[in-house]
Structures are given as C-alpha cells and as structure tokens.
C-alpha cells in the first residue's frame, strides 16, 4: 500500500519538475474532434506544450473564457450580446477556423421512405409539435421522434435561429433532449423515425441529412459545395474564442490550425476549410 503511494507521488514529482506549458481548451462538441486531433499533431511538433481539451458545449466555452478558466473556448455559433455583456472585463476575440452546416437529419428509414427534403416551415411545425406523424409529410405512418439539444449547445442556437428566428426558441414538440453530437447521433441510429439537428460531419449510414426546400422551391442539399458557397441556408462558422489577442503558445496553436496542416484536419473531420 505505502509503496503504491510512493510510486504514484514520485511519478507526479517527476513530471512536475519537467518544464512544460499548458493550453486549456473547452467548449463546443462540434469543434472538439478537430481540436483534439490538431492537438495530437501539434504535440508532435511542440512536445513541451500540452493542450488539454474538454467538451461541454459552446456555452461552456464562452462562460469559462469569461471566468478566466480557459485559454481558448470552442464555439460553433456567434457570440451573443448577452454573453459579451455578462463579462464586461473580457475582451472576447473570435477566430474562425472552418465552416459547417447544421443540417436537419433523419433516421435512414425515413430517408429511404422518401423524405429527403423539407421546408424550414415544415421543420418548424415538427419542432412546435404541430406535425407529429411522418404521414403528414407524405412519409410512412410513423410517429416522429423529435430530438432537441441542451439549450447551451451551439448547434441548437444556429438551428433554432434559422428555423424560428430565435436562437433560444422553445421546442414544445421535442421528445428527447440530448447533449453532444455523439449522443444525438446515437439516438437517431437507435430510432427508425427520428429527426434531429446535427453538423453534417456526423452523417453516417443510419443518419441522413435532409435537403432544405427554399422559397423558390429549390431543394438545397447539404454538400460541401453548398456549404462553401453558403447556398445551404443553415451554415455557421466554427470558431475559437480568446480573451484579447492570442499570445505565445495560444497564438502558436491557432496559427497551426490556420496552416495548411491544420486546415487539412478541418477537412478530414468533414468540415469546410476556410483557407
């Protein structure tokens, strides 16, 4: 027992002695995979800078920058005025690193049954609870499982802004509230009649993105092309937030993300590069 303790504490002491710097990052689970992977590669170049990445959602990214607990916050939406007001002593600075679309997604069973495009109004009716069955949208006779996200999630803000013009809109039609993109993706896979909101990087064989039908009856599908050109109606920037101009290691890391290697990581994760 005592030896075990000694062992552990000698390890810690050992590490504490070595000189190293830490960059703390947390926030949006949409940006998270890019940053985690970038951090792994960054570490190979700069072994003495350690980057600690945490999830939590865009709200966490902003709040913790405001509270001075982070070096970089990850957000997948715009900064809200209320957030800027809440932390008057913080000079929020955003750095876009990529582009993404928030796409209404459905279970593959629904997609295969013919529902491949909806209007924003139809999506709104689903989230308001006015449409409860896929039949109403000339789909199969199956109840709609409406998936919402936790209120602090960036994906939800962007989605609700596009659908309801109110980023905090309530969704009385929702059946489940989920957190991270992974969790939402899992719930859609487990169901055969679900609709949800996801970044298009989370599509897979069971999770299909819908096209959005615009006013002129043109259906825009969530392809990289359409996102890059902003033709798809729900696009957003993936950004990092810092307090003031980044310096030192933080700057080094952000520059890495904007470098060709960094942008390649953005693309590898299914997002659109901005450089």
């Amino acid at each position: 027992m005592r030896n075990l303790f000694l062992f552990f504490f000698s390890i810690i002491l050992l590490f504490s002695c070595s000189e190293s710097k830490v960059v703390k990052i947390a926030g949006s689970s949409t940006v998270l995979p890019v940053i985690s992977q970038a951090a792994e590669q960054f570490r190979l170049k700069h072994p003495n800078i350690r980057i600690i990445v945490n999830a939590g959602g865009s709200g966490v990214g902003v709040n913790q920058i405001g509270e001075g607990k982070l070096d970089i916050g990850m957000i997948s939406r715009e900064l809200a005025q209320s957030e800027i007001d809440r932390y008057p002593n913080t000079a929020f600075q955003t750095h876009d690193i990529g582009r993404d679309a928030v796409v209404p997604v459905v279970s593959s069973e629904i997609y295969d049954a013919g529902i491949q495009a909806l209007t924003l109004a139809q999506i709104g009716d689903i989230y308001k609870g006015d449409i409860r069955n896929w039949q109403a949208l000339s789909g199969p006779d199956r109840e709609i499982l409406v998936l919402d996200k936790e209120s602090s999630r960036g994906t939800r803000h962007v989605f609700m802004s596009a659908v309801f013009n109110d980023k905090n809109a309530a969704a009385p039609g929702a059946d489940l509230v989920l957190g991270s993109n992974n969790e939402e993706q899992t719930a859609i896979v487990q169901s055969d009649g679900a609709i949800g909101m996801l970044s298009h990087a989370w599509f897979n064989a069971d999770v299909k993105g819908l096209s959005i039908i615009l006013a002129d009856n043109k259906a825009i599908s969530p392809t990289l092309e359409n996102i890059r050109s902003s033709a798809f109606p729900i696009v957003r920037a993936l950004s990092l937030v810092t307090n003031g101009q980044p310096e030192g290691d933080v700057k080094l890391f952000i520059d890495f993300l904007l470098s060709d290697t960094g942008q390649q990581i953005v693309e590898d994760n299914g997002y659109v590069r901005i450089r």
Binding site: N63, G66, R86, E150, N168, A174, L176, T186
Partner: protein, 292 residues
C-alpha cells in the same frame, strides 16, 4: 492535570478532525442555500410551476420533481417486493453454508458503478423497452425506473437479509417448536422483529434512488416536461439529478438559471438527508453500520 505537549497537540488535532468532519455537511448545505438564494428571492413560488425555459425567464421545476418521484415509485415498486422476497429466501430458506457466497455476490453487485448501469441501460434496456412497447424511443421514465430498481436491488436484498438474519434464532426455534410452518414462523415470529430494520433499509434505498444520477441521466430522455396523460411513464422525462448532471456545468456561475438549478439540488439534498437520517437514527440501530 498538566498535559504534555504531545498530548495537547494530539488533542487539538483530533478535535479539529471531528469539527471538520461534522462541519462539511453543514458547509455543503450553506453553500447550496446561499447559491440558491437568488432563485428563491427572485422567482419565489414561481419555481413550483411546470415550464423550464431560461431564455424566457421561466424556471419551473415541477417537471423535474415529477420525474424524480415517478422514477422513485417505479423503482421501489419493483425493488421492494422482489428484494424482500429474495431476502426472505436467503435468510430463512437458504442453508447457512451458502450464505457467505450469496452475500459476497450481493456486495460485488452493489459495488458496480452507476455509470456502468447507465451503459447497460442505453445499450440493452432502453432498446428493449423501445421494441417491446413499440415506441419511437426507449429513453423513458419507465427505463429510468427499471434501471434504478436493478441498481438498488442488491442494497434492498442485503439490508433486508441482515434485518431478518439479526432476529435471534430462539424466536424461530420457539415458533417451530409450536408446529408452525416456515411461512407462519416468518410472518408471526420473525417479521415483527425485523420490520423496523427493514423499514430503515427501505428508507436508505429510497434516498439512494432519489440521488442517483448517471444511470438515470443516460436513459431518461432529459426533457423537462410532465407527461400527458399524467401517468404515462412510457414518455421521456427529467429527474432533478439528470437535469443537474447535464446542465450545471454548462450554466454560467452566478446567473439566475444557475441559482435555480442549485435550488433543485438543495431540495433534493434536504429530502435525501431526511430519509437517510431518519433511517440511520430511528430505524437502523444495531452495530451502527453504514450503508451506501
């Protein structure tokens, strides 16, 4: 009497220790109270309404209370009869030589961390419920309740078994000597002695069910809504603990929303404490054993 230096230092060390150990709980209560004060004073009785929509300034916690109570009732209606009947078997019917193994198994089972129950709930239980009831999603209040019942079952069994086992053998012998069947021995001679301890065990189980977070959070669906119709547990819901587990870290410290969440935590803590203290002080006397 003159105290030596080491005795004085020693005494002040042990005194500080007991003060810290006993004060922590008061400290926790105070912190929750201070941080929920904003909600109490600004929202007041409005917290006991049913709509939670922070952006619109609505902080009703009834849906969470409903969820916690519903999950608790489901869990206990399953776990209590099943647990007590099983304990009756292990304490009264099972030959003594197997008892050690059964008890060890139960201790191991009780030690399975709740996150693993959550994993099992999300991979198996919620899917089964979805298929069995032909639902759109198996993440329901019922799933949370059943999962909690399974979690709390070892505790109910092992505490009830202890309660029955602690009844002196002489009562059983005397009743048997009068020609009573095992069922009658249990009912007339054993249960009257054990009933207090069993009640204590159930109170502890109740507290544990109310306070459980991880497993419930993963399977309950997390929607802040009271089901319509009222008793339909095949719909998703939210408990106080799942709400806290999901949202407390994402809410800005010092905001009204944070304060309302803390108020929920305070409410939970007060009830769980009441059950625990009641159980440990009034019902479960012997040996002063601790149960988790």
């Amino acid at each position: 009497m003159v105290m030596s230096a080491s005795a004085r230092v020693g005494k002040s060390y042990v005194f500080m220790s007991i003060i810290i150990s006993t004060a922590i709980i008061l400290l926790i209560l105070t912190f929750l109270l201070i941080n929920s004060w904003q909600a109490i004073s600004e929202i007041g009785w409005g917290v006991f309404s049913s709509e939670w929509h922070p952006a619109a300034g609505k902080f009703g916690i009834l849906a969470m209370i409903y969820g916690s109570v519903a999950v608790m009732i489901i869990a206990l209606t399953i776990a209590i009869p099943l647990g007590i009947m099983t304990a009756v078997f292990t304490a009264e019917v099972l030959p003594a030589k197997y008892r050690f193994y059964v008890k060890s198994m139960l201790e191991l089972l009780a030690g399975i961390p709740s996150i693993i129950y959550g994993l099992i709930g999300i991979v198996f239980l919620s899917v089964w419920i979805e298929d069995f009831f032909a639902l759109q999603s198996g993440r329901t209040i019922l799933a949370g309740g059943i999962l909690l019942a399974i979690m709390v079952l070892p505790t109910v069994i092992t505490l009830s078994d202890d309660a029955l086992h602690n009844v002196p053998a002489k009562y059983r012998e005397a009743a048997r000597g009068l020609g009573l069947y095992p069922y009658e021995v249990l009912k007339s001679a054993v249960l009257p002695h054990a009933v207090n301890d069993i009640a204590g065990a159930l109170l502890l189980a109740l507290g544990r069910v109310l306070g459980e977070t991880m497993a419930v959070m993963l399977v309950i669906g997390s929607i802040d809504r009271i089901p319509v119709p009222f008793l339909n547990t095949l719909l998703p819901g939210q408990t106080i603990t799942s709400k806290l587990g999901r949202e407390i870290a994402e809410t800005a410290f010092g905001s009204l929303e944070f304060s309302a969440l803390i108020f929920m935590g305070l409410l939970l803590l007060v009830f769980v404490l009441a059950f625990t203290i009641l159980a440990q002080t009034f019902f479960y006397q012997p040996e002063q054993r601790l149960y988790e």
